[in-house]
């Protein structure tokens, strides 16, 4: 299995479009999950995913180790999300200065509108309130179904750190949802709206 995957990566590196397409289809959901974890508030997932796709096609030839495809894609996705966030901050400032209109016309309402389930919509935007350190393990666990050990490997942190971030992040997420729902969060744990993550 790994050998077949390696061959596909080798072909993709050599410019084989079919192999590139197959790899993209196999890892697109992974990339999207990482983008969700690191995007800035209001960033459109489709736009970010497109940017990663461009980088993938243009730079996959530079990938040395076929086994490192997922980590490489994760790094690309994080860089794209951060670059986009910086651009958005600059653009947002310019909009405020030039037009005195602080409202960013772009939001993730487009993708939220596709969500049939109201809780799911709220959960997605509530996740944006969490720091990426909490958001990423939650998404890798819930959306990708990774074990805590796998998440620890992906993030390069001890397994206990993953468990702590999951526990803390889930509590914070439940509090955000309760606040949006008009329910008072319980007193235990950090009930602040600005969250700090452990390093």
């Amino acid at each position: 299995m790994a050998k077949a995957g390696d061959d596909r990566v080798a072909k993709a590196r050599a410019g084989d479009r079919i192999a590139q397409q197959q790899l993209w289809e196999a890892h697109r959901r992974w990339v999207a999950t990482i983008l969700l974890a690191h995007r800035g508030a209001g960033a459109d997932l489709d736009d970010l995913l497109q940017d990663v796709a461009v980088v993938f096609v243009e730079h996959v030839a530079e990938l040395r180790d076929p086994q490192r495809l997922r980590p490489w894609l994760r790094t690309v996705a994080i860089n794209v999300a951060r670059t986009h966030s910086r651009r958005e901050r600059v653009r947002s400032r310019q909009v405020i200065e030039l037009a005195a209109d602080p409202a960013d016309p772009r939001s993730d309402r487009d993708e939220a509108a596709r969500l049939a389930d109201e809780d799911a919509q709220v959960a997605l935007t509530a996740l944006d309130e969490l720091p990426p350190d909490y958001r990423e393990p939650i998404l890798l666990r819930s959306m990708q179904g990774l074990s805590q050990r796998r998440i620890a490997t992906v993030l390069g942190v001890p397994e206990t750190t993953v468990e702590n971030r999951l526990a803390r992040g889930r509590k914070l997420l439940a509090q955000v949802l309760a606040r949006r729902d008009g329910r008072a969060p319980t007193a235990s744990g950090g009930g602040t709206s600005t969250f700090a993550s452990d390093a």
């Binding site: 479009r17 397409q21 744990g189």
Partner: protein, 220 residues
């Protein structure tokens, strides 16, 4: 920030990793503070919501395909017009090209039958499955017409050109303008054949031609 013990226990429940000791500890804590059950319910609800949101959002990413440069052939359907290399008014140009390409059938490209890396080949009937093809010149379009036409069997032959008129240009560079006729022999399958008939008052009407078998191709 370190999580509290109850947060860790609830998280283990959500992951189905809680052992009997964890449950006992959680129940003991809940005897002192019953709101823990509410926290467990809220966390479970949040977990389910995130999973549902994930399914919806990740399923939606199927729309996002790889960008490939113009004239490249890809087996996937273009589901989104790529910004890659197209900015500003280029968007409009890309859309117009796509419309022209789809409406005329031009644009399969001279590499249409070329084998793809990996040993795969593309069929020629791929107007709906090709990516944006930015045929930009008359000669490219003509080449595409010939390539696709011959491969699909629609084009039977190209007859010699006929010169209709010539005219020496006044530019003084020994240039001559040539009017010529290209002649392509095409084949088509039709469901019905009609000939022009006349009513008594002389008006033309289409009259169906009935036949069972023809050995020679009739004039359409």
């Amino acid at each position: 920030m370190e999580p509290t013990r109850d947060e860790v226990l609830i998280s283990r429940v959500l992951d189905a990793r809680s052992g009997s000791g964890d449950w006992r500890e959680l129940e003991l804590m809940a005897e002192q503070d019953p709101t823990l059950w509410r926290d467990l319910g809220a966390s479970l609800r949040a977990e389910i919501a995130v999973r549902n949101a994930g399914e919806e959002v990740l399923d939606g990413t199927r729309r996002i395909d790889l960008p490939f440069a113009a004239n490249d052939t890809v087996r996937s359907t273009p589901s989104r017009i790529w910004r890659h290399g197209v900015t500003g008014s280029g968007w409009l140009a890309a859309i117009v090209l796509l419309c022209v390409w789809l409406s005329t059938g031009v644009g399969a490209g001279k590499d249409a039958a070329a084998p793809l890396p990996g040993g795969d080949t593309l069929t020629t009937n791929k107007l709906a499955t090709n990516t944006l093809n930015t045929t930009t010149t008359f000669d490219d379009a003509l080449t595409s017409y010939r390539t696709v036409g011959f491969e699909e069997g629609r084009l039977v032959d190209e007859l010699p050109m006929m010169v209709v008129d010539t005219q020496v240009l006044e530019s003084g560079n020994d240039q001559m303008e040539v009017l010529y006729l290209r002649r392509f022999l095409e084949r088509a399958t039709v469901n019905g054949v009609y000939e022009v008939g006349r009513r008594d008052d002389g008006t033309a009407v289409p009259v169906p031609v009935h036949f069972t078998k023809r050995t020679n191709h009739g004039s359409l």
